[in-house]
């Protein structure tokens, strides 16, 4: 009986949803570099590939964990996670999905040519227990393994072996890999054609297991045509003229115009990305300052003065046109470990900032260069300009050095900076990722302090991060809380805001806004 009902629902679903062709024409500024699911860990790649590939654990519309290719999972031992796999799933080219494909995909993501190593860094190996049961064995207890596994796309072993693609694409080889332009996933859409930088066409995989999930029952998109349009003005023109249905990254200055346009709507939501200033708190003399013989940023009072001199509400109102969430910490509420009590800013107070500077021995301020990207985050350069002007009012003469992202990242990654603006996203949605990369001492351990270019180092912080890495439950939560308090008191960064991301689309398209800035067309409906 249940089967019959299911079949009826299926027939109904098919009849209602997918009888007509519903094409979504989607545009954003950048094109994916590759179609390899374990090569480049960047948003432009994932936003396309997650339509095609499934993960063991999926994300729901609130970014919580949901069954994907695994129907359930459990930490059977401290270092052993067990996954029970979905039965009857087939890859787009017909191969049956089994535990062996999971074992293969984990190994593949662990190859040195993979950019996804962060998601599998604690995994020692994975083993097939039964054809549809797989165990993942970690070197140390890993409480957040499911969060990481939720980013690992599953490939077919036989397909990858047949096409000589058992390692993620490697730019160092002088050959192109098959997976650069071909895919074979189990996901809701299959890749139909791909012309890099021109057009990527995906069509509905009618056999996808998830179409009967409640969230997808209304979904009716049968085809996705993705076309990158790098010029902001052209992208918006294409939306206004009806050549495009969905724009992932409309420029802020056009939002009001888009809202006023007929048949267009703008959907806004928070993004899991926080913008902050980080400072060189390591050197005894700053590289880019007129202060000789000492580093003013090593003095907590100076950091606090720079912090309190910033009128964050003005930046929120004017620079960001209201499209930001002001914060006193460095990851947003969607991230596990966030604490409202620790998300408190030091108040904006110019008089206090001047007093603190005087107290620290800089009554006349000092000179410093602020490094800033100009094409990476929303209004990044304008934010820096505003901050430079605000600091000038308390006597700190900052020179703005705004650069495109390529030279900017090259510069800060050489530690060649005194103070810089950075935006940080948290793909695992767990606090550890941010603490480990941004605040842990750079001791050579995998992932430790790799984005800590101010070289902040605090032994207590390191201890707490160690606890976050190895322990779960209450001790871990307590460690995160304490670390957040240290962050607030020690001011290793000057936090600014969480980014808000607007999506613009034609009014007949409905798609849930996602804080990871990824459109999931499996949930989209075109009327």
């Amino acid at each position: 009986m249940r089967k019959l009902l299911l079949a009826a629902a299926l027939a109904l679903g098919l009849g209602a949803g997918w009888a007509e062709a519903r094409t979504v024409r989607w545009a954003a500024s950048g094109d994916p570099n590759t179609m390899d699911p374990h090569s480049q860990n960047v948003g432009t790649v994932t936003m396309v590939l997650q339509q095609i590939y499934d993960t063991l654990i999926a994300r729901d519309q609130e970014l919580g964990l949901a069954p994907g290719l695994a129907t359930r999972w459990e930490q059977v031992e401290p270092t052993r996670w067990r996954f029970w796999l979905r039965d009857g799933v087939k890859f787009h080219e017909g191969q049956a999905f089994t535990a062996d494909d999971v074992v293969f995909s984990v190994t593949r993501a662990q190859q040195p040519t993979s950019n996804y190593a962060i998601y599998v860094d604690t995994i020692e190996r994975s083993v097939q227990v039964e054809p549809l049961v797989v165990d993942v064995i970690t070197r140390v207890p890993d409480p957040i393994l499911p969060n990481k596994i939720a980013s690992l796309m599953i490939m077919s072993r036989s397909w990858s072996e047949a096409h000589n693609s058992t390692r993620p694409q490697n730019t160092r080889n002088r050959e192109e890999m098959y997976t650069t332009r071909n895919t074979n996933g189990t996901g809701a859409f299959r890749l139909q054609s791909r012309e890099p930088d021109v057009r990527t066409v995906m069509v509905r995989n009618t056999d996808w297991w998830g179409w009967n999930e409640p969230s997808s029952r209304e979904a009716n998109v049968t085809e996705i045509i993705y076309r990158p349009i790098s010029s902001d003005a052209t992208r918006i023109a294409a939306l206004l003229s009806g050549e495009v249905d969905f724009v992932l990254d409309p420029p802020l200055q056009d939002l009001n115009r888009l809202r006023a346009a007929p048949n267009i709507k703008v959907v806004e939501g928070p993004e899991v990305r926080t913008i902050f200033l980080a400072m060189d708190v390591h050197r005894d003399e700053l590289l880019y300052s007129d202060v000789r013989g000492r580093n003013p940023l090593k003095d907590l009072r100076v950091r606090q003065a720079l912090y309190q001199a910033i009128d964050i509400q003005a930046i929120h109102r004017t620079t960001m046109r209201g499209q930001s969430v002001v914060t006193g910490t460095f990851f947003p509420p969607q991230v596990n470990g966030y604490s409202r009590e620790e998300d408190v800013r030091l108040p904006y107070d110019q008089a206090r900032a001047r007093a603190l500077l005087a107290e620290a021995g800089y009554p006349n301020g000092f000179e410093i260069t602020l490094d800033c990207p100009n094409n990476r985050y929303i209004n990044d350069e304008q934010i820096c300009q505003a901050i430079v002007a605000m600091w000038a009012r308390v006597g700190v003469r900052a020179r703005l050095n705004a650069m495109p992202l390529a030279p900017f990242f090259a510069k800060i990654q050489r530690d060649d900076t005194s103070i810089y603006l950075l935006g940080w996203g948290v793909p695992t949605l767990d606090a550890l990722y941010s603490f480990q990369s941004l605040l842990r001492s750079r001791d050579g351990g995998q992932g430790n302090g790799i984005w800590n270019y101010g070289r902040y180092s605090n032994p207590r912080m390191d201890q707490l991060i160690e606890i976050m890495t190895n322990q779960s439950g209450a001790p871990r939560d307590a460690a995160i809380r304490e670390a957040l308090r240290i962050y607030r008191e020690d001011i290793p960064h000057i936090p600014l805001h969480h980014q808000m991301i607007p999506w613009a689309m034609r009014s007949n398209l409905t798609i849930p806004h996602m804080a990871n800035n990824q459109p999931y067309f499996r949930w989209a409906r075109m009327n």
Binding site: N33, P112, M177, S230, T234, A406, P407, S437, I450
Partner: protein, 327 residues
């Protein structure tokens, strides 16, 4: 003749090497491809390994020599950004740029010459004044602004033409063409006008000036004295003599059109070589950038050579000079 060609080709070699050197040296400032390739998560060891694999730890001159050695064999390596052979990427994009460039040049020529003739002949008519005013727009407005204005009017307001892309293309072997489909032709209109407008006004003003010059010469007076009809005098005698400098300029400008299609291609998301170049700059994709700059240098060198040869064919004085053993 043969010796002339050989000498010109030999002269081109140092030019190409200089371009290669300058572009190669410039890349030290565009950013670190390693940072972009590694993404957000990596270890120091992975970073060092990648630097070694890419050969970026070698001294500058070694890197440069390796690059030249490979380039001479047409081997530009793999794009850092797209992980595909650079030569293949450029070959894929070349048809789009070349079709756009030739359409723009043809447009400039077919509209610019008649407009130039007309304004040269009827200097004081209101239409001439209109053309001249209009040509000021073409000369003074930057390309990207013209492109955006055209998009606003013809794509957003009127909805007649697409605002971006190349439409549907047809594969003819390795060449993809947009000339054979309606959407391809429609997509070509706005970018071609944007790209060709400056050349159009340039040609118009050049033809006009030359016409006015030639019309004052004695042989035109004699032609009129012979009682030839105006049409023959204007087009048979006058225009023919103005075309020599025009052809030269058009030839040289064709190189410029191909090279400076970058802006137009970016505005219209035209999938040509210029767009590829801009995207590569953003990702510090050195192999693509260097190959593109080398190619553009080659285009200029080749066009110069052809123009020289045309002079040689057209201008008898050059040949005589050569015959006497050099100038």
């Amino acid at each position: 003749m043969f010796a002339f060609i050989i000498s010109r080709i030999l002269q081109a070699v140092p030019v190409m090497l200089t371009v290669a050197l300058i572009s190669f040296a410039m890349f030290a400032y565009v950013g670190d491809p390693v940072a972009i390739m590694l993404g957000q998560d990596f270890t120091e060891a992975q970073r060092d390994q990648l630097v070694r694999d890419l050969g970026l730890d070698q001294p500058f001159w070694v890197q440069f020599a390796t690059f030249i050695g490979h380039a001479a064999q047409g081997e530009f390596g793999l794009s850092y950004r797209l992980s595909r052979p650079v030569a293949e990427l450029i070959a894929e994009r070349a048809p789009a740029t070349l079709e756009l460039a030739f359409t723009a040049a043809a447009l400039a020529l077919l509209i610019g010459v008649p407009m130039g003739v007309y304004t040269g002949l009827y200097r004081h008519s209101w239409l001439s004044r209109f053309f001249l005013t209009f040509s000021l727009i073409g000369v003074s407005l930057p390309t990207f602004l013209i492109g955006i204005l055209l998009i606003l009017v013809f794509a957003v307001w009127l909805g007649w033409l697409p605002s971006f892309g190349r439409g549907d293309t047809v594969n003819l072997g390795w060449w993809t063409t947009g000339f054979l489909t309606v959407s391809g032709l429609k997509a070509l209109v706005l970018p071609a006008i944007t790209l060709g407008l400056f050349q159009l006004t340039l040609i118009m003003r050049l033809v006009r000036a030359e016409m006015m010059e030639v019309l004052r010469t004695d042989y035109i007076k004699f032609a009129r004295a012979r009682g030839l009809p105006n049409r023959v005098v204007h087009f048979g005698h006058a225009l023919k003599n103005t075309l020599v400098p025009v052809i030269t300029i058009v030839g040289l400008q064709l190189g410029a059109i191909i090279a400076f299609a970058i802006v137009t291609e970016t505005v219209f998301q035209w999938p040509g070589m210029g767009l590829l170049f801009i995207q590569s700059v953003g990702a510090a994709d050195i192999p693509v950038m260097s190959a593109y700059l080398m190619l553009i240098a080659l285009v200029f060198v080749t066009i110069n050579l052809i123009v020289d040869l045309l002079y040689y064919a057209v201008d008898p004085r050059l040949r005589i000079g050569r015959g006497k053993g050099g100038h």
